[in-house]
Amino acid sequence: MNAIIITALWGVVMMFGGVFFKKRTTANYWAIAGILIVLVANILEFFGHPFFNVDSRGMLRFDSLGLHFNTIIFICTLLFFLLNGRDVEKVGPHVSEYFSLMFFVLCGASILTSFNTLLLLFLGIEILSIPLYILTGSDKRNLKGNEASLKYLLMGAFSTGILLMGIALIYGGNSLGSFYIDSINLGQGHLLPLIAAGLVLLLVGMSFKVSAVPFHFWAPDVYDGAPAVFSSFMMTIVKIAAFFAFFRLFQNSFGTMHHEWQTLIAIITAATLLLGNITAVFQRSVKRMLAYSSLSHAGFLMFVLFALNDTAREGLLLYAAAYSLATIGIFAIIVKMNDYSIEGFNGFGKRQPLIAFTAVIFLLSLTGIPLTAGFTAKFYVLMAAIKDGHQLWLVILAVVCAAIGAIYYFRVIQAIYFKDPVEGVNEQLNVTAGFKWLLIITAALIILLGILPGLLIDWIYY
């Protein structure tokens, strides 16, 4: 409860603060202060000290898994604010509104990690999505951004409609006439037609939100069109929150009927992995490449829904953390660069040895090389799928896709270390020592989770 209330309040504070802040950087400091308060409050709640005791009639349930997931989200956001806070100022004049919108997104994310009814799920998704439509189009002079924003809004509204239809069918179809996700619990047996239709619609709606193929059409354009700072935010924090909701909903409501819809998930997973990876190979812009590769990571995260066991739950946490840390890290660097093409990275290792080194660690982690968090994450989701024991072809397909992933990530590494800079280009990044330290800390976190994933996982069982 702490996180939901404080993020909402702080969003309002930031919005009105915009009137009083004299300097543009003040908003950044306030945002960092806000996220720190949220983080601490959430950790306190995790250890059993909630500030607020609102009777939600069981519509919200705060379990250790959800609160732990919140912590991951807030730590990632904190890193994001620290690394890229100053770049938010460059997007446009309304700095504190941008931060305010991001706090509302976080509020939506906190609801998604604790919802216990379909209504709250719907609310959470809307609170999460609406600020994003605005953030995508926040650079008003950029035509691509405007197009992306409109596309996102239309697609988002469409998918929300499908989601609502699904909720309605489930409500009508279950014998209790209840919105509570636990009471939908269907037991063993076969699906009723009404419930089956509702389940498929919910699946489609949620797949839209996590950008799983074939409901992904908005994703590359939005991630590519939005200002790079916000792409980073959307690809990581928003996506993992949506995945968590997806997992929570399907495990609690439809977990017992897992075998009925597992094949459907398998098909979506396979399509997401293949399309994301193969398309990413052909991208010349690093930003767009990462947009497509985020589809591929969505494919790996879909394994969590495919397997739906204890290992999958641990894998979800690890993958969310590993993927977010690495993506935030690499985007923090991309945002600072003028040239988003792969050639823009040529000779980067000579120009900025330290930043280049951290960039390589982020890329290695995204590829899934051992000693980085990316590996342990992939390892856990694959282990979850193999433990499930069905459809092992999917696992083989996934590792083939992971190898394809090496192709495009390593192309950037090659540019960084093995290619000479283009003549005349000697771009020096305008970064502070603090920025470099933060990148090192992020990289260190990634390696730490790569060696000892238990540091993250053990908290589930707290």
Binding site: P370, K387, V399, V400, A403, Q414, Y417, F418, L452, G454
Partner: protein, 499 residues
């Protein structure tokens, strides 16, 4: 005694790892070279000391000098377990022995960013050592990849014009192979018995040996593991990356790749493939052996027509490794014993060949066989070394390979005499290509290039001398190596046959 505080396998990993990280911070070219050489000599000393404690069969207390296990990820049943058995002693010694020689032989070579270069070399040594000593499947996989990454950077950064593409092909091939193995590892893990109460299954090698797998499961798991090892060795038709990488890379990396890293694949097959999937081995070994023998003949024929010395050595190496692969899957005592010996011999011979090719290229500026002629008149010492090494590659009696190739062919003969006959053709062909190469480059009329050729340096001479001594010593008295690895051979074979 060292072994009481730190076990040998740990030291063999930590020394190159720590010195490798430290090497990044040494900027001076001269001191970094000395530093790397000293580090590798320290590893060699540890390796030699460990050999004195290798007789675990007669001294059970030595077991604790050579095996150790630390808690790492108890919740999934993985631990940091390392240990040395006969094969482990042999291969860690080969690694420890090769690195100082590699550093010494290329001491005069210039590299841009020498600190990065030597740091990566030492890190690759740590990774390779880890592969040879890991007795936990997950740890094995970690090291398997960690050995690859430094070499990827080494070969992409320092080398010929097309190095980036060539190395990248190599990387994607091996990465895909190892990921397939990872799927296999996880699947076997799900069927492996637990060793402690913390987790339902275990990644330890012993649990893997007792995994409860049906013949059908073994059948497809076999190919998943095989993919990783076959790419690394490489076995025909997974060899296509190899000649390009060898041609394009710098000499020290290529020495590591061809001399030591290929043994990772052979060790993988012997330790992680044969005993875990015995029924699959019985079912599919003939396919693999036929592939290997095709590889021997195919690579030998191509080696005949190579003009570039580096590609020449690359193809001849594929031929030799084909024989090793075939002997591994013949799965009998003679064959495996031969493979053990050949792993050491091949490492020594190919290292010597690379050193000679390096000297030729440095001193004449070319490595085209057609442009070289009559080098022997100018550098008779090098000619003698080359002839001895060439004989060793052909497996002439008194040279080290004679014993090992004889044993391997014997093992193959036990398996199937027709296959052995075809494999023997490979030895005939190797005589043809080796001798014609020696003849074309070193004998015949001296051309202008040979006249202007520089002399080899003293350091290179010493390295070649040591290698030649090793060739002869192992040719005359291979008994210690056979004695060292005997226990591994019987141990592996007992699991392959009984289960």
């Amino acid at each position: 005694m060292l072994g009481t505080y730190y076990t040998f396998p740990e030291l063999l990993i930590w020394i190159p790892l720590i010195t490798g990280i430290a090497a990044i911070f040494i900027k001076n070219t001269k001191s970094i070279k000395t530093f790397a050489l000293l580090s590798s000599i320290a590893t060699l000393v540890i390796s030699i000391i460990s050999l004195f404690y290798s007789d675990i069969a007669h001294h059970p207390e030595y077991f604790y000098f050579n095996n150790v296990s630390y808690v790492w990820m108890p919740y999934i049943g993985s631990s940091f377990s390392v240990g040395l058995d006969g094969m482990g002693f042999l291969l860690t010694f080969l690694t420890a022995f090769s690195y100082p020689l590699i550093f010494a032989a290329t001491y005069k070579s210039e590299f841009k960013n020498p600190n990065g270069f030597f740091a990566l070399m030492l890190l690759s040594q740590a990774g390779i050592m880890g592969v040879f000593v890991a007795t936990d499947a997950l740890l094995f996989y970690f090291f398997w990849e960690l050995a690859l990454i430094p070499l990827y950077f080494l070969c992409s950064r320092w080398g010929g014009e097309k190095k980036i593409q060539a190395t990248f092909k190599f990387f994607v091939y091996t990465f895909l192979g190892s990921l397939l193995m990872l799927v296999g590892i996880i699947y076997v893990y799900m069927h492996a018995p637990a060793v402690s109460a913390d987790s339902a299954h275990s990644f330890s090698l012993n649990s893997f040996y007792h995994a409860d797998l049906s013949a059908h499961q073994q059948g497809w798991l076999f190919w998943l593991f095989f993919a990783a090892f076959a790419v690394k060795i490489p076995i025909f038709p997974f060899h296509t990356w190899q000649p390009d990488v060898y041609e394009q890379s710098n000499y020290p990396s290529v020495m590591v790749l061809s001399g030591i890293m290929v043994k990772m694949g052979v060790l993988g097959m012997i330790r992680w493939l044969l005993p875990i999937f015995p029924s699959a081995v019985a079912k599919y070994s003939h396919i693999v052996i036929v592939l290997c023998v095709i590889g021997i003949l195919y690579a030998s024929c191509i080696a005949l027509y190579q003009n570039d010395l580096k590609r020449f050595v690359a193809w001849s190496s594929i031929a030799h490794l084909g024989l090793m692969g075939a002997a591994v899957f013949s799965a009998n005592t003679l064959g495996l014993q031969g493979v053990m010996l050949e792993m050491l011999n091949h490492g020594i011979n190919i290292l010597a060949l690379w050193v000679i090719v390096d000297i030729i290229e440095k001193n004449t500026g070319v490595r085209k066989i057609s442009e070289l002629s009559g080098l022997a008149a100018k550098s008779p010492g090098l000619a003698i070394f080359l002839v001895i090494i060439a004989f060793a590659n052909i497996a002439l009696p008194l040279s080290n390979s004679f014993v090992s190739e004889f044993l391997m062919l014997n093992g193959l003969f036990e398996y199937n005499k027709w296959i052995a006959a075809f494999a023997c053709l490979g030895i005939v062909l190797s005589a043809v290509y080796m001798l014609s190469m020696v003849q074309k480059t070193f004998y015949g009329k001296m051309n202008t290039l040979a006249e202007q050729a520089k002399k080899m340096s003293g350091g290179q001479g010493v390295v070649l001398f040591i290698l030649v001594i090793a060739v002869l010593a192992l040719g005359i008295y291979p008994e210690p190596v056979i004695h060292l690895t005997q226990s591994t051979v019987t141990n592996i074979l007992s699991k392959v046959i009984i289960k």
